[in-house]
């Protein structure tokens, strides 16, 4: 097989676009939060400045080899999610990255991969708040995964495929063909679990900025933190892109991509601005009630 340099170029360009869009989107969301609180808020370029500053810090300390690898695993989790996800479905097929038949399973795996790597790294940091954050994060993410996986299985049964590109292609031809209308129960279950996956206010106890200081990345600083921030920017867009592909008909150009990912991400920010924070046991039991039942119903319908 010949190595496709053109494909690689488009993938890297896509990563650049997604990274910058993720940073801009986080700035916009913080701006929205600020306006809700009647503040002026940060300047729109603040995430870039923070990123440059963190990479420019002169001294680093390490707690061991896993401490190094933690952010690397997290970043490879985010980038892996990006690599195997079709961004845009166009006639030329340049922006489908390295998606293949059955990438849906791989993507579900990659969502957990970063969390586990981060858990190992932050655990070696040795800070007790890291350990609390990890145990909370893993238990909450396990609870999130259940309804999300059920919704995805329902989709796989509905479209009889495990390829994201095929699912997107099956939704083409008008807004009424989207999964949102053909399989609303699975969509609701997945959108509720998205709230937890993006970790905004009702389910942000993992990082809980003013309760346990910052959670898992307590000991992470300078370049480590920069890698984590880069990953967060990529990951949020890619998560939104996954839901766009699965439930909202995908995108055929970057403008459509940006509008749809913004709205999907805005859904979690909207809920987060309105609702206060759940405790961890409440959030776990919440995910195992309504979204879980909806997910099971979604599977039963298409059995």
């Amino acid at each position: 097989m010949e190595f496709d340099f053109k494909k690689l170029g488009f993938t890297l360009l896509g990563l650049l676009i997604v990274l910058n869009w993720g940073l801009l989107m986080s700035a916009i969301m913080r701006k929205i939060n600020a306006r809700v609180a009647k503040r002026y808020g940060i300047p729109w370029y603040q995430p870039w400045v923070d990123l440059v500053k963190n990479y420019a810090i002169r001294s680093q300390i390490t707690h061991g080899i896993m401490f190094y690898l933690g952010p690397v695993f997290r970043f490879s989790g985010g980038v892996g999610l990006f690599l195997f996800m079709p961004m845009l479905i166009t006639a030329g097929g340049q922006w489908t990255n390295y998606s293949f038949q059955g990438d849906l399973v791989l993507i579900l795996y990659f969502q957990f991969f970063g969390m586990l790597g981060m858990a190992l790294g932050a655990g070696e940091g040795g800070h007790p708040y890291s350990a609390i954050g990890i145990s909370r994060g893993l238990s909450q993410f396990t609870a999130i995964e259940v309804p999300m996986t059920l919704a995805v299985i329902s989709l796989a049964i509905q479209y009889q495929t495990l390829s994201i590109a095929d699912i997107v292609k099956a939704q083409q031809g008008g807004i009424m063909n989207w999964t949102m209308w053909t399989n609303p129960v699975a969509t609701i279950a997945a959108m509720l679990s998205l709230l937890g996956a993006l970790a905004h206010a009702p389910f942000n106890l993992v990082r809980a900025p003013n309760e346990i200081p910052i959670g898992p990345p307590t000991e992470y600083h300078s370049t480590f933190l920069g890698v984590l921030q880069t990953n967060a920017a990529v990951l949020h867009v890619v998560e939104a892109a996954l839901f766009m592909n699965l439930f909202f008909g995908g995108a055929s150009n970057w403008f459509e991509f940006i509008v749809k990912t913004f709205l999907i991400y805005f859904w979690s920010v909207f809920v987060g601005t309105v609702f206060p924070r759940y405790r961890i046991e409440h959030s776990v039991s919440w995910f195992l009630k309504v979204p879980l039942v909806l997910g099971i119903i979604a599977i039963i319908i298409f059995m």
Partner: protein, 223 residues
């Protein structure tokens, strides 16, 4: 006061050398001061030689000031209003961080008891190299109204290097914002290299700190 009361008064049992039995019955020796802390002294990290790069990085450092959420004394009540709609320090790139590892700016807000100074030194030394200290209120300048107290320090700059003093008792949040802007100017001019000064004059600072912290039961430089 009888003599036996003073025995072991300065020793924290947590820091004592001891033999611990593991879960499988194996016994091993633990010396917390050596095992739990790193004792390497701070290094001087020279700024970049290329002015364009250094100016750009300094601009980024100035526009993204992460403040450590550590309140000492009465001035700490002046910091929360900074994040409210009225003052909104987010406009200036000022954000609060709960962990010293990730923060750049340390606000010493008001009088500093010796007990607090010990924690301040530990937190300050955990911060990473370009780090800045804002001393808030007259207590950090000359002791303020506590100048003759047996338990509060008089001059902060003998214990940790200070970039900006904000005078007043207490300064209003506006004064604090003005201090942030002044600090930004200093950083952009490349004059805020007090972390390197701390590393250079480490022995002097350590001697001053040890003069008043009499139960020094931690390593000299604890990362």
């Amino acid at each position: 006061m009888s003599e036996e009361n003073n025995i072991n008064k300065f020793e924290n049992p947590y820091y004592k050398k001891r033999i611990v039995e593991g879960p499988d019955g194996e016994k091993f020796e633990v010396d917390p001061l050596k095992d739990y802390f790193c004792d390497e002294h701070p290094k001087v990290h020279k700024p970049s030689k290329i002015p364009v790069i250094e100016n750009f990085l300094n601009w980024a450092r100035a526009e993204s000031l992460w403040v450590l959420g550590f309140g000492t004394g009465c001035g700490s009540i002046e910091i929360p209003p900074l994040m409210t709609p009225r003052f909104d320090a987010f406009r200036f790139g000022v954000q609060a961080r709960p962990t010293p590892r990730q923060s750049n700016v340390f606000i010493i807000s008001g009088y500093l008891a010796i007990k607090t100074l010990k924690r301040v030194i530990r937190s300050y030394e955990q911060m990473q190299n370009p780090k800045y200290v804002i001393a808030l209120g007259s207590c950090t300048i000359n002791g303020g109204m506590y100048f003759d107290s047996y338990n509060t320090i008089n001059r902060l700059d003998y214990y940790i290097p200070v970039d900006i003093y904000i005078a007043g008792c207490m300064p209003r949040p506006e004064a604090l914002l003005a201090g942030f802007n002044k600090l930004k100017e200093l950083i952009k001019e490349g004059k805020a290299e007090k972390a390197n000064e701390y590393a250079e004059k480490f022995e002097w600072y350590k001697a001053n700190q040890k003069k008043i912290i009499k139960d020094w039961n931690m390593p000299d430089y604890n990362w």
